[in-house]
Symmetry: C2
Subunit: 378 residues, 2 copies
């Protein structure tokens, strides 16, 4: 099974703005990686003072944080540049790194919650520590050790994320717009994640007619705002964006974030493990009540509903069960409805971006990011 048909990316015409954006973006990525290494090297020194045995905690964070698409850091960066910030300003590098570390912290704990064994094509952090326990022949329960170590690694990563954000200095100090958004982002994403796990256990008791509305609210807070809206807004705020620009940013970034997460949901069910780096149908085994599932419940008859509720999140869901759920999602039209929603959000984001009229090369850069975010296969 491969990903559903997505609009093919057109070959990029020789656009000088796009070329300038790519070049600047490459340099920004280089600075981001250098800042990550330099920050973690300094913190490793602090851990060595405690004990060299505590360093694996940071190594696990580093192994995870060096990967990823850098979508949040890049949105923050181009939000900063679009609002008049200077190219490659350290303020934007630090803020971008803080967002990437926050994302790493969220992933470490998410993978415990979702019992995900892999992340970015490698073992998830709790599995990494369980593996160390096994390979070292240590005592007591290795799974429990892995989970405990990953709880602590996520906590440390969350603290480090904030530490880097504070190191931005006066532009991110108490009372600034950037700090207010950073705080709101953290509270909202944790509330959204709680709603997500709550829906897994409460969802089967809800009216199927409400499923799509509920799933879309969770998606908005758990993912969309945090993946796109808040990073872009933080970048804008750091460069002094006024409320008009921030509203125009949000008109672009919120539908983009919704489209991004809906694409994620589709990939979580239909994605190719070789490109996603996660097992096929992972979201189904985890019992995620995504918009895709909500449409299936809303469109399906009583038999479909019973079948979906019976097998979603079941510990013994095998490959045949995954195939059967995929068939139901397709046959009820839920996949088509989700693709339609993605297309609608993408069009809204495109229109809002076109209306933004940003300085070069920020406009071209955001257009390319938006395209990559919703038309990806991993």
């Amino acid at each position: 099974m491969s990903v559903p048909d997505a609009p093919a990316s057109l070959p990029v015409p020789p656009d000088p703005d796009a070329a300038a954006a790519r070049e600047e973006e490459d340099r920004f990525r280089g600075l981001l990686e250098a800042e990550l290494v330099s920050f973690l090297t300094e913190r490793t020194r602090m851990l060595r003072e405690v004990s060299a045995e505590s360093v694996p905690l940071l190594e696990a964070i580093h192994a995870l944080a060096r990967g990823g698409k850098r979508l949040r850091a890049l949105l923050c960066y181009w939000g900063f540049r679009g609002a008049g910030g200077a190219p490659l300003d350290p303020v934007a590098v630090r803020a971008g790194l803080a967002l990437e570390l926050f994302q790493s912290a969220a992933l470490i704990h998410d993978d415990i919650i979702d019992r995900s064994d892999t992340r970015r094509g490698a073992p998830s952090v709790h599995r990494r520590f369980t593996g160390t326990h096994r390979d070292s022949g240590w005592h007591l329960d290795g799974d429990r050790f892995g989970t405990s170590a990953a709880i602590l690694a996520g906590d440390l990563c969350l603290a480090l994320s904030e530490e880097v954000f504070t190191s931005v200095g006066p532009a991110a100090a108490h009372g600034t717009a950037a700090r207010d958004i950073f705080n709101r982002m953290r509270t909202e994403v944790m509330a959204g994640q709680y709603l997500d796990i709550l829906e897994e256990v409460v969802g089967p008791g809800h009216r199927p007619e409400d499923a799509v509305r509920r799933a879309r609210n969770i998606l908005r807070y758990k993912a969309a705002k945090y993946t796109t809206e808040h990073p872009l807004a933080i970048g804008g705020a750091l460069a002094g964006a006024d409320s008009g620009l921030q509203q125009a940013y949000a008109a672009f970034s919120l539908p983009l974030g919704e489209a991004f997460q809906l694409r994620d949901d589709v990939l979580g069910v239909f994605g190719d493990p070789e490109t996603t780096g996660k097992p096929a149908g992972d979201d189904l085994r985890e019992g995620k009540r995504t918009v895709l599932i909500a449409y299936t419940l809303e469109h399906g008859d009583a038999g479909v509903r019973a079948e979906v509720s019976g097998s979603l999140g079941a510990a013994d869901l095998n490959d045949d069960g995954v195939q059967r759920l995929r068939a139901l999602i397709t046959e009820t039209g839920a996949l088509a409805a989700t693709e339609e929603l993605i297309a609608g959000h993408t069009a809204a984001a495109d229109r809002a971006l076109a209306a933004l009229d940003l300085p070069t090369p920020a406009g071209a850069a955001l257009a390319r990011l938006a395209d990559a975010a919703v038309r990806r296969r991993a």
Copy 2:
């Protein structure tokens, strides 16, 4: 089984300094509670915007954070006052609240890691959510839901702690001494906690001769520095303490913190459940390799070592097993050695405090706090 003999507190003589300290402390506690309620009320409003269903996340945090001895907030406060800070300054109230919220976050995740069912005489946060799951008749696994919800509650609490610390303003901004200590505290305590769980799984393979040294290093980073040294230093830094005063503070607070945690270890094995609010022998079931256990291994013969290693942390450790371990700890002289260590640290802290010569009523207040920290029964 009751707590081992501790020096009885003498009746407090009518000391005007002590009376002034108590009165000021009561007013500080009142401001701390008011700040907690006002901050969480504001954040509850933000969660309601996401969904009223996410509010239990904050309610769980509030239920936990309203309890406790307030040792960290008070050390921070008197460190601030001792360095010349103004009485009841909002800066010290906010910093104290940040420390208490950090402690709450650590407890929420600690209780998952240690599988503790109770905290401060009530269900731990993960058990609270498991209870809600059961009482509501929700679907899927209630234990898993409880753990997941508590991971998120701890994350939110950690973010809120930092948010309150940042709200201190310029005195806690990037580059200040107070911020540096706050950052170091978070990194060190998480590294120390990691060493603690590592010792549980690696410890049985270590040489018993090293056990005390290892246990004391863990105790220092996981507990002592974070419970007493860092809070006092943050208070001092917020009032502009110079390095001489900070060194003198540390000479008092570090041995105090070690004595405090050693007392905790003794109570974790010998404490009365009615006063500690935790089941008898909880630390033994959790397999904690405390200094008390380290002394038992160091002083015991091969038979004792085998028995301790065999039953410590065993899932099936019953009351008879707890009694047997208690007997070994007492008979090997480990309890007496630990009490001796507590007495030595307490005397060192007392001497350092006497040499400090702080302005009134900070000196009297710290003397009383120190006394309560090491001579407590809960």
